[in-house]
Symmetry: C2
Subunit: 194 residues, 2 copies
Amino acid sequence: MSYGDGMSSTRSARSGERRAEILRAALEVIAERGYRGASLAAVAERVGLTQQGLLHHFPSKEALLVAVLEERDQWDAVPDSQWRLDLLGSLVEYNAMRPGIVQTFSALLGESVTEGHPARAFFTERYAGVREAMAQVLRVEYGERLPGGLTPERAAPLLVAVMDGLQYQWLLDPESVDMPGAFRDFLELLGPEG
Amino acid sequence: MSYGDGMSSTRSARSGERRAEILRAALEVIAERGYRGASLAAVAERVGLTQQGLLHHFPSKEALLVAVLEERDQWDAVPDSQWRLDLLGSLVEYNAMRPGIVQTFSALLGESVTEGHPARAFFTERYAGVREAMAQVLRVEYGERLPGGLTPERAAPLLVAVMDGLQYQWLLDPESVDMPGAFRDFLELLGPEG
DNA sequence: ATTATCTATAGATCTATAGATAATGC
DNA sequence: ATTATCTATAGATCTATAGATAATGC
């Protein structure tokens, strides 16, 4: 399912560029301060607009966040069920090269568990989907029985948990935590095939 | 190392109680809104004080956060190197019974990766310590060689990552994620001894 | 006409300080 | 005296709306 160019007949190319600029700036500011701590003014300043000028492109702060989340190409370098297990290591390596995106994502994930957070539903659904996709990836690699007697469905949340958990440890202390190496260790642990 | 009663000669018992009440309220409000989203007024209201009344007990919002973090009994039902591996499963089970604390912790961890967050140093140091402690726990259980050819030091960040990562998945969707079960699965994966 | 921006501003908050008042502990 | 709490308030923000002005596209 390829999803369109985002600037259909109603919106000019120039406007599309502006939106993209704003989204990039929002991503940065959220990485630095989280969503609740990010002010529209800070995002606007980064693209040389006033806060009111920004609100012409996104009618509210929440609309801006939703747009950021939907532009999930950023994190949807993340796998679907077509992926192969041995590519996950490379994905983690790739993530280690873009701390900004990882930080935005991790800050939003952390905030999203608080009450009434506008990203909560997004993450809940996303994780359900990612667990399913990972189960399928594991099934392709191992069939129904994994080491330790696990099924793909039971191993999937662990795989996801390791990726997320390592991101926090790595963001807090990149010198001490070799994120890609640790993730490969986990794949090793998963068994001979990995 | 037992750490004292927190109300030495300088502070009355009544004051200690008030402080404890405030800390409990702060824990709740942070769970609901994160640290940046938590207002002193919201915490104060919960203990029947004005915001200014609260600031008599903690001179600033940051001082309140520091006090919350230092009262880490909450999360330091978390292991030191004396622990045994098979007790970790029970710890996760215990955590599954106190979603509030888990949520406070997870929200703070998420926020802490943003710039200039007052909990950042705390978490960085805490994780270094927890990794060390976990390595020692693994060493006691397995010696120097774990399944997959891992050393205790290399397995430790994975163990920690699984615990944290599962917490997020579980907070977002407790119906779909069996946190204690999944963690036991991971211990199973770690090998025969676990 | 529509789109992009701006200035002005309303209306909420938020943290923190100053200083008054009441209660408590020697 | 010290401790706990309150009222008043300064000084920053923040989001969002209203309405003016300039630029762009048919």
